[in-house]
Amino acid sequence: MAEWFVAKASDMSDGDRRIVGAGPHEIGVFCTGGTYHAYSNYCLHSGGPACEGLLINQVVDIIAPDRTYQGQTFSDELHFVCPWHGYEYDMKTGECVGDRRLKLRKFDVVRRGDDIYVVA
């Protein structure tokens, strides 16, 4: 395992990301909510650039206590979306939202001073 430089922390604001070529790996490193998340950039569906698409919150149905449908809204759960076909992944876990048994490979991120590294 080696540490691969990602960016200066001061260069990544909330919502920023970098795509890091790290030997045989291609890794998406996200800066969201004051933390860093790093996942394989290969979508589990057909190999698309999973980390290069839209960041968007989860859509949920609003079901009233009487079980009637009352519309839709966004939840607090942040997703990133593969731009090839729309596969959505949970930012916190890398789980594929459509089938949470499937997960993108997760990588550790370390900070040394102002430098951000991904471990791969």
């Binding site: 691969w4 430089f5 990602v6 960016a7 990301r17 970098r18 795509i19 890091v20 070529g21 790290a22 030997g23 045989p24 790996h25 290969y42 057909s46 190999g47 698309g48 650039p49 290069e52 698409g53 839209l54 968007i56 979306v81 731009p83 090839w84 076909h85 729309g86 959505e88």
Partner: protein, 402 residues
Amino acid sequence: MDMPREEVRKLSFEEYSHAKHLEHASRQAHERNYQDFLIVDVDSHHYENESYKEVFQYIESPVIRRAALESSKRPGRSSMMNSQVGYQDVGGRITRRTLRKYHKESGDQHRDVTMTLEWMDAMGVDYACLFPTPMLFLGLHPQVEVEVAMCQAYNRWLCERILAVEPRLISMLYLPFNDPEASHRIVKEFGGKKGVTGFMVTSPRYKPVHDNAYVKTYALLEEMGQPIAFHAAYNWNDQSLSMTNRFISVHALGFMWFNMIHMTNWVINGLPERFPKLKVIWIESGLTWAYSLMQRLDHSYMMRTSDCPSLRRKPSEYMREMYYSSQPMEKPDDLSILEATFKMIKAETQLVWSSDYPHWDFDLPSAIYDLPFLNEKAKRNILGGNAARLFGLDTKVMKKMP
């Protein structure tokens, strides 16, 4: 491609190229040695509406031409062309349709040629059969004469501006099926033109394929050796489909629904017996519909042969002689189910790979190449060999992979 590599990329959402968007597809192409594979894409698309100003100039009727040109000055309202509700980009999550406005062309080729060749090379595709996008709904236009006028204009534009200049681009041309006489004229006018490999009926429409009015067109196509294709799409205003409330629902059902009806009418009315040499292709309905319909029709046929006395064999036996494009290929977790589907439709000779690129649910060649139950010969047939035989294409590999 250079692998492994060491670099850090920022993302820019204000630039776009198919080559960059499909970089991972290019890696797949190199890893699987597609340079050694003939790959024919039987169903891909361009956005002909981006060229409407050119296309409209080809409309023969001065009145319809003026109406079209005037309506194009007011995009989004009072259009002469019909459309459908449909958020195919999943609320902006699939980005290429939006970002293509940032694509920069170089050279003096038509934008459609440049962009199409770019994604073809990125995926490892040698030939692409190009179809329109909004015009897939033209069969639902309330004015039949507009369908005919647009069909003729589009076909002429496509032949002159696109197919004539690029040998890797082919098409099965739009048939104005709501006007049987005009359909016959279109086949006579365009059959044999450079790059024309057949004719295509957009499936969402309400004319039964077994109407006697079409017989002379089928006979002409059979005589010319030109295939007829039925390209699926949906109609959210269809009485049944209008009960669905999400795009996923109308898409999943609609893209099968019209082809299931046309196929049923085609077989039950004995058209395969009347036109035994006419090649028929079913496009963009996936594969499960055929697997299901074969069993369904066979089951009823054995009890109701008097309903379809022209048939000499079971419906599935005729269906197994037709061609099916692969996308969107349903991929169950249990691949033995897919393997059974391939067996049912005789995939090794009847299945033709298609991408549907750049639409939202496109497939790569790896959808076929990576299937563990296919041998090398079957992969080569499905990815390109079957289509090359169907269309009479040169089997020389033409792509220039990046």
